[in-house]
Symmetry: C2
Subunit: 209 residues, 2 copies
DNA sequence: GCGTGATTGAACTCATGGGTTCAACGTAGT
DNA sequence: ACTACGTTGAACCCATGAGTTCAATCACGC
């Protein structure tokens, strides 16, 4: 029984993974269920045996993918919990890690899917934990609030600081990556992280006494 | 002949307008040519009489819409050509105007279309004049360079300043408008413009001597 | 080995929609 | 009135793909 249940779970995971891969590659409308079944190494009726609809299949695939992306992004904030003397350096490392997470293939595809299907699936942002970047902003705001308390940043409004940090960091991505279709070299990502932290610290760093 | 040519032009404009409206409402795949013909008040064969394909129809419709959007956005920068004493105030007005242009229905729909069809039409960013925000950044950088020359801003790197100004201003839009599906009140837009200019001036304003 | 339940492939139904054809019509220029 | 041309509506062809059915098969527990 354990293995049989396991078998079912494996199929389900394979289906969700294959579905996201195909949806990411072709978009919702162009992706056909047969392609997804092939990608998952599974027969078409098996797909319908786990998911009632192409639509619910899409929902679950996107939900799983965006949950994974969000976890990775929040994980990248960890170094901020205990920055050493070099706050700017740590910020830069975190910024660079976030940039890499936001520019990888799956993230770009996920963003494209969200934008393109948000009208067909208006509830999908609710399925995704807290509208995507939202929870990330919260988590970053928490870290910045700690830093403000210990006098490393201006104390005013950590929520705004977090929102602006992410905006400075991720805003330029759209144009530079041509909506996620052009890869960005790691050195360019490094420069972007540096420029972001530099400007952020000018605006939000504690005045050097 | 003048009127007959005019008649053709009118049909063409009606078709492009109707096409953008329907594509914006339904997305590329879901929009069917019959809907577009109806929206334009025209018969289906007439559509194919002007456009060879659904694909070229899409290209031309998106091109026209994004050209109009870009013109409006660049036009909104005009007050920066001759700011009075109150540079921050003028920046705030321009920022607010840009926010309104970026949050209106057509702009949001256009952005969704670009994101969703960029894989099917990889060349569409070339058709759109200079990848959308790119030319806007250039135009803003020009204005900021003038301001830097006259000592109102830090002189270093107006291109970076423009990129960061737009990132600070437009980056938060994505989460706040839920990818363009939620309207944002004008007072909220005002607050966003104010916060952007405040932070921007802290980072890029001339040190008050 | 036997039975239960999931899986498989193939074929099928049915709806949608791109693109075309065609005969009838309106209209402007001569 | 005649011609030329764009327009119109309706019907048509054809490809695609969602979702289903079914008999055959496989994997596992007993």
């Amino acid at each position: 029984m354990a293995t049989s249940t396991r078998g079912r779970i494996d199929k389900r995971q394979a289906i969700l993974g294959g579905a996201f891969a195909v949806f990411a590659r072709l978009g919702y409308a162009q992706a056909c269920v047969q392609d997804i079944a092939d990608e998952a190494g599974v027969a078409k009726p098996t797909v319908y045996n786990h998911m009632t609809d192409k639509a619910t299949l899409f929902r679950h695939a996107v939900e799983a993918a965006s949950q994974a992306a969000l976890d990775a992004r929040i994980g990248a904030l960890a170094p901020l919990a205990d920055p050493g003397d070099d706050l700017a350096g740590v910020l830069e490392d975190v910024a660079h890690a976030l940039l890499r997470l936001h520019t990888d293939e799956r993230s770009c595809a996920l963003k494209r899917l969200l934008y393109s299907e948000i009208t067909r699936f208006p509830d999908i942002l609710g399925v995704v934990t807290g509208s995507g970047p939202h929870h990330l902003t919260q988590a970053l705001a928490d870290r910045l609030a700690r830093l403000a308390l210990s006098g490393r940043l201006r104390a005013a409004d950590p929520d705004l600081a977090a929102e602006q940090f992410l905006a400075l960091l991720l805003g330029p991505l759209e144009a530079r990556s041509r909506l996620g279709t052009r890869p960005i070299s790691d050195t360019e990502l490094h420069d972007m992280a540096r420029a972001t932290v530099c400007t952020f610290m000018r605006a939000w760093g504690q005045k050097t006494p």
